[in-house]
């Protein structure tokens, strides 16, 4: 549909007003909210992700596209809820205990949100118990842990152990990342995946949810 393509293009350009208007027009013309979401918004954000990966777009531009997507979602949400359309997946995120580096984690959250996932961000310096409680409350499909210090990265293990002890480990897939973290470390602490950067994190989440 031509309008869906236009919606995706305006989203890529980051024009929130146009995207909101086109969303309403598409709904009025009878397009289903799910079609608008997948063929307009997610399709547009996929291009945004690719352009960021290839260096054609910088973060501020990506964020403009993300805002445009939010403008559309605001209109779509009641329709999606009414039709029982579920989000692509809920992701719980946080920087582990003792660590105040959060810009990397924030970027990962932004990229995932842009890819259509629902993010619950617990912030920084998050205790293991808080992660456990949040898993029980929010029931996310994925937990994302970030650590930037050699002296906090082991709190990923403490957190994963606490989640196992609480009996909820089987309910979530765990993704880890941060400057000192590696695939080897992820394996050692019992995480399900490791991502080097925010763009890779989106790929890993897709893989984890498909598995």
């Amino acid at each position: 549909m031509k309008e869906l393509q236009e919606l995706a293009e305006q989203l890529i350009n980051g024009y929130s007003d146009h995207v909101a208007r086109l969303t309403q027009e598409l709904l009025d013309k009878g397009a289903t909210p799910q079609t608008i979401l997948n063929e307009g918004l997610v399709a547009g954000m996929t291009v945004v992700g690719e352009r960021m990966r290839s260096g054609e777009m910088y973060l501020p531009e990506v964020l403009q596209s993300a805002s445009a997507m939010h403008a559309s979602l605001k209109i779509l949400k009641p329709h999606l809820v009414r039709d029982g359309v579920e989000s692509r997946g809920k992701i719980l995120m946080g920087t582990v205990k003792g660590d105040m580096h959060d810009i990397g984690k924030n970027l990962v959250g932004i990229m995932l949100e842009g890819a259509g996932y629902e993010i619950v961000d617990l912030g920084l310096n998050v205790q293991a118990q808080k992660f456990v409680e949040a898993i029980q409350t929010h029931k996310p499909a994925i937990l994302g842990l970030s650590a930037m210090l050699t002296t906090t990265m082991l709190h990923m293990k403490t957190t994963i152990d606490a989640i196992t002890q609480a009996g909820v480990r089987a309910n979530v897939k765990i993704l880890v990342g941060g400057a000192p973290v590696s695939q080897k470390f992820a394996d050692e602490v019992g995480a399900d995946a490791y991502a080097r950067d925010a763009v890779k994190a989106v790929d890993k989440v897709k893989e984890l949810l498909a598995a």
Partner: protein, 462 residues
């Protein structure tokens, strides 16, 4: 060391031309620790090391102290082996070492005792810089002037000063809570507000306190670093998330908030990760620590050589205490820094320093806008733009604008090539700077509207 009118923005340059800006030399050398003279005609290594993967807790504490003790031994051994003429050691506290001031103090004592022996027994001029962690942003929005975090940070400074620190520094974070967000959105107005309004206010509060602790204990108030602002921008740019011209603009602008430490009585050496150091040196005449290619153990950068062009201490920023084929990584990096410093010092003693400096500068500045703004010529231009203005807000905008003019001139002269997208951003940032109101009062309301959820005005005396 006399400062200019206490608490007031600088209005003059200590070094007026690029030719006067040289590594190893400053108008106001600093003596610290055990006979170490900084900026008096030589460059010395500043070694910093950190712990490998481990938790810092009661059970691991004695093994942590042992690691620092062994590193102290290593320093003496290596200094002798390499005929080191002088050395600065930095102990950068990890968060739990600041949260428990007695822990930071214990390691300070261990390192000081090794340096004391190195001086008394081996004759090594040396000093210990101690850098507590700015833990005030453990809660968001940060409480900067009151509360447990601030009280504990203050206690950590006191305890480290008492335990034998010779120089005190910090990478302070006031304004970062807003700057992070503004940078991600490419919001120039937000960045100027964070760097030109909030950060200087916090620096004034914090550095008055640090200077008074230093004065009471006979410790040198070193300086601060805009790491949380400009190095975050540098990392964002290296990950392809921000344009390089944006990171270069932030670098220039960030010098103003770091300068506030000197307005409050700090007198150097500045912190290694403060790549804004050359601007601080040009304005204050104080010695600076810098890091570049030999800090690639800590993070990558496009400014590896040019960062060395005006340094007085040359640092590795931080390396994990892990074993390499040669030996412990800190020993390997001390050797690396020592050889780097031999080159600086041989250049100075043979009268070849200008040629050597040119090589350091020329090898980087045609490849990166961030490197370009660190050259001696750019430094003097940005520093001059700063001292022409009377308020921190105006100074910050002036520094940002001049950094962009420097880049634009180089593009025009075809000495720097920018990708088309970088060009677009250069225009965009310039227009945003031009559109800013003349006084900070003009953006206060809109900034509180846009970012009020991120910061607490009372933390900045607002």
């Amino acid at each position: 060391m006399p400062t200019q009118e206490a608490g007031k923005p600088y209005s003059t340059l200590a070094l007026r031309s690029p030719e006067e800006l040289m590594f190893g030399r400053v108008p106001k050398p600093v003596s610290c620790g055990y006979g170490l003279q900084l900026g008096a005609g030589a460059v010395y290594p500043e070694l910093n090391f950190t712990l490998p993967t481990m938790l810092i807790e009661e059970e691991s504490w004695s093994s942590i102290v042992n690691q620092y003790d062994e590193l102290g031994e290593m320093i003496r051994r290596t200094a002798k082996r390499l005929h080191l003429p002088g050395l600065m050691i930095e102990f950068e506290l990890l968060p739990p070492m600041t949260e428990r001031p007695e822990w930071g103090a214990e390691i300070t004592r261990v390192l000081d005792s090794h340096l004391k022996k190195a001086h008394e027994v081996d004759g090594l001029p040396c000093a210990l810089r101690v850098t507590p962690t700015d833990i005030r942003d453990a809660i968001r929005p940060p409480l900067l002037r009151t509360g447990t975090e601030w009280e504990t940070l203050r206690a950590s400074f006191e305890a480290c000063a008492e335990a034998g620190a010779h120089v005190l520094s910090i990478e302070s974070v006031g304004g970062k809570e807003l700057n992070d967000e503004a940078m991600m959105y490419g919001d120039v107005e937000g960045v100027m507000f964070a760097l030109g309004v909030l950060a200087p206010r916090d620096m004034q509060f914090l550095w008055k306190e640090i200077v008074s602790i230093c004065t009471a204990h006979g410790v040198v108030p070193g300086g601060d670093s805009a790491c949380g602002f400009a190095n975050t921008a540098m990392q964002l740019s290296s990950q392809g998330m921000l344009p390089e011209v944006f990171a270069a603009m932030v670098r220039g602008a960030s010098a103003v908030r770091s300068l506030v430490a000197y307005e409050c009585g700090a007198f150097g050496p500045s912190k290694d990760c403060a790549y804004e150091g050359p601007i601080l040196k040009a304005i204050t005449g104080a010695p600076i620590a810098m890091e570049g290619k030999s800090a690639s153990c800590a993070h990558f950068s496009p400014v590896g050589n040019v960062a060395a062009a005006m340094c007085d201490l040359w640092s590795n920023e931080s390396v994990q205490n892990v074993r390499l084929l040669s030996g412990p990584a800190p020993e390997a990096f001390l050797e690396l820094l020592t050889y780097d410093c031999r080159l600086f010092n041989a250049a100075l003693s043979t009268g070849s320093e200008r040629i050597y400096q040119r090589m350091l500068v020329e090898s980087d500045i045609h490849l990166s806008a961030q490197a370009l703004v660190l050259s001696p010529e750019s430094t003097i231009r940005i520093a001059s733009a700063i001292v022409r203005e009377r308020t921190h807000y105006r100074q910050t905008i002036a520094a940002a604008s001049e950094a962009l003019h420097v880049i634009r001139d180089a593009v025009r002269n075809k000495t720097l090539a920018l990708a088309p997208k970088e060009h677009q951003w250069l225009d965009k940032i310039e227009s945003a700077l031009v559109a800013l109101p003349a006084g900070e009062g003009g953006i206060m309301d809109s900034m509180i509207d846009r970012y009020g959820h991120l910061f607490t005005p009372s933390s900045y005396g607002l």
